[in-house]
Symmetry: C2
Subunit: 348 residues, 2 copies
């Protein structure tokens, strides 16, 4: 049976949940996708790394991280990727879950580049690479004969990129608008109920949903990165998060929420884009939502994306409640996509 | 370049729009899917048939149908399918768009069976085959090495079956609820505004959205067939529309709509299912929707389906406005699925 060797670059909330999900679906991957998967390396930015070409002890690594201990000293993330590239497995997959670097998408872009340069597939739940460097990385992946996938980067594992690529052939996406940041959605709903900002934010941090640096959520950088990712992939755009018109939540937001509520509306942080190719313009704006809008009724940890298309009109996809398992599932679904593509190539 | 020969069985609103859409995407099918598509036969139940192994004159057939004339006398639908089966094209595809036979899913099931027996692929926008005979037809298709696809049967061309099959690997659908009949959704919204039932129904008939026999919509048979189709395919169910608990709209509906509205709710015809395998139970019920429910804000020609899953929680997919092009698109997307599968097999 073909073997897939994985290196996990990043081992925080999402990386660890992915390792757990993978363990639970090991048999399914063998049965349905004829793939024997093992994790041969784990690296982190500040907690060391571990590598074993026969498969690392994932439970042990989990326990060490939970106890605040280092994983070991098997090299930097780039070195771990280099060792993955020398594996003789049928598939070599770098699984990137580091935190979003808002200045330039690093270090994740470097990790994806290193993986593709080593003819490893690259999958990531990090928005950085697709938001900052989609065209470059996609071209590199094509040349390397490898996949660069990122289903978990927007709305966790809810299929968005797969939806358009796999199930909507011949359909052109003309624009989108939606709520794609759970933390601010939760804060705005809490403000509406008269609850304090800080408590709502603390809940999202406690659940591991808020970014490690919460200002990325609150200032709108996370939805701006997602808007850039969607615009680049679905609309052939050429934007970075810095080119996205952006507002975040601020001291006056609570007043604005109350004013909207008094008028029967709801204030929400809406990401949107329109145009095509180099003319795509994306934005993240605090927007008053009317009661007859599908975004109005979304529960306070829900996300939703409304795609405007040529042939299918408007389609909305809603994630009614997000959690870590869903983000980790995005990576699992990317792994299955790679397994399917590989099966096609092996038959060829 | 591989050639796909198509026979259209049924040439009403949907069949004709499909022929038009196909014409518009002929180049795309050649470029992206290396497929040269032509329509070699068209058959109808009451307006004759036409066949030409070099390709029929679709515009001429359209004009004849628009003028109320017969297409010709080239044989019954089963005979046209038999002639399709003798084509030497790489792909032979029967495109089924007859009206829903609510007693037993016929004649569509017979058309699909005849196609598969002749080693032709079968795609249909008709709910009958998948609602009444999914397991049998799917088994037959597997044995014949052919595809039996029906994306357009529920929520038109909005990906539902493809969504689960192609983009949600390892995810189990535990249940669903949704609004899947446009005609009754439009009527209920109109009653809410104080408009008469008959006028709202007439609008849906004028747009070709209501079934030819509108009682199929009004009595809930259409959503019952869709609920059966969804339960059979997504939840491994074994139900027919007659096993779906079902209510429709009746003389007392207007009063019930007003009572719900007075309480701040909306009365909607909701299809649902839960359970697994032979224990799946499906229902179509007039249901009062609370204001915080995503189904509450749906525009009056919208459809929506909320899937409950194990790994991804609740996911909602909404079609914000349905029209004939979208139904026809479901058939086009099925044709692309067949082209993709065929490309994989040719590489093998």
């Amino acid at each position: 049976m073909p073997r897939a060797d994985l290196a996990l670059v990043g081992f925080g909330h999402v990386g660890r949940r992915f390792a757990q999900l993978l363990e639970q679906h090991r048999e399914l991957l063998r049965r349905d996708h004829q793939l024997d998967v093992r994790i041969i390396g784990i690296s982190t930015a500040r907690h060391g790394s571990t590598f074993d070409e026969a498969g690392v002890d994932v439970n042990g690594a989990n326990a060490r991280r939970a106890a605040g201990q280092n994983l070991g000293a098997c090299g930097t993330s780039l070195e771990i990727i280099g060792r993955l590239a020398r594996s003789d497995a049928t598939l070599r997959v770098m699984v990137e879950t580091t935190t979003l670097g808002m200045v330039d998408g690093q270090p994740a872009i470097g990790h994806v580049e290193a993986a593709l340069d080593g003819r490893c597939h690259a999958i990531t739940a990090n928005k950085g690479p697709v938001a900052f460097a989609y065209r470059t990385l996609n071209d590199k992946a094509c040349r390397a004969g490898c996949s660069f996938l990122f289903e978990g980067a927007v709305m966790d594992g809810i299929p968005i990129f797969n939806l358009v690529r796999e199930t909507m052939p011949a359909v052109r996406v003309l624009g989108f608008r939606g709520i794609v940041n759970t933390t601010t959605q939760h804060i705005l709903a809490a403000l509406e109920r008269g609850e304090p900002f800080a408590e709502a934010l603390a809940r999202m941090q406690a659940e591991g949903i808020a970014e490690a640096d919460a200002s990325l959520d609150v200032e709108g950088w996370d939805p701006a990165a997602k808007a850039a990712a969607l615009a680049n992939v679905l609309m052939d755009g050429d934007v970075t998060p810095h080119l996205v018109e952006r507002v975040g939540l601020g001291p006056s937001t609570a007043d604005a929420v109350r004013a909207a509520a008094a008028a029967g509306r709801r204030l929400r942080l809406v990401a949107s884009a329109s145009g095509r190719g180099r003319n795509v313009r994306a934005a993240v704006r605090l927007t008053e939502i009317e009661p007859d809008d599908i975004l109005f009724t979304l529960p306070d940890t829900a996300n939703a994306l409304v795609l405007t298309t040529d042939l299918l009109g408007e389609i909305a996809v809603c994630q009614m409640a997000g959690n870590l398992t869903q983000t980790a599932y995005g990576l699992l679904s990317d792994l299955v996509t790679i397994a399917r593509r590989s099966a096609v190539e092996r038959r060829a």
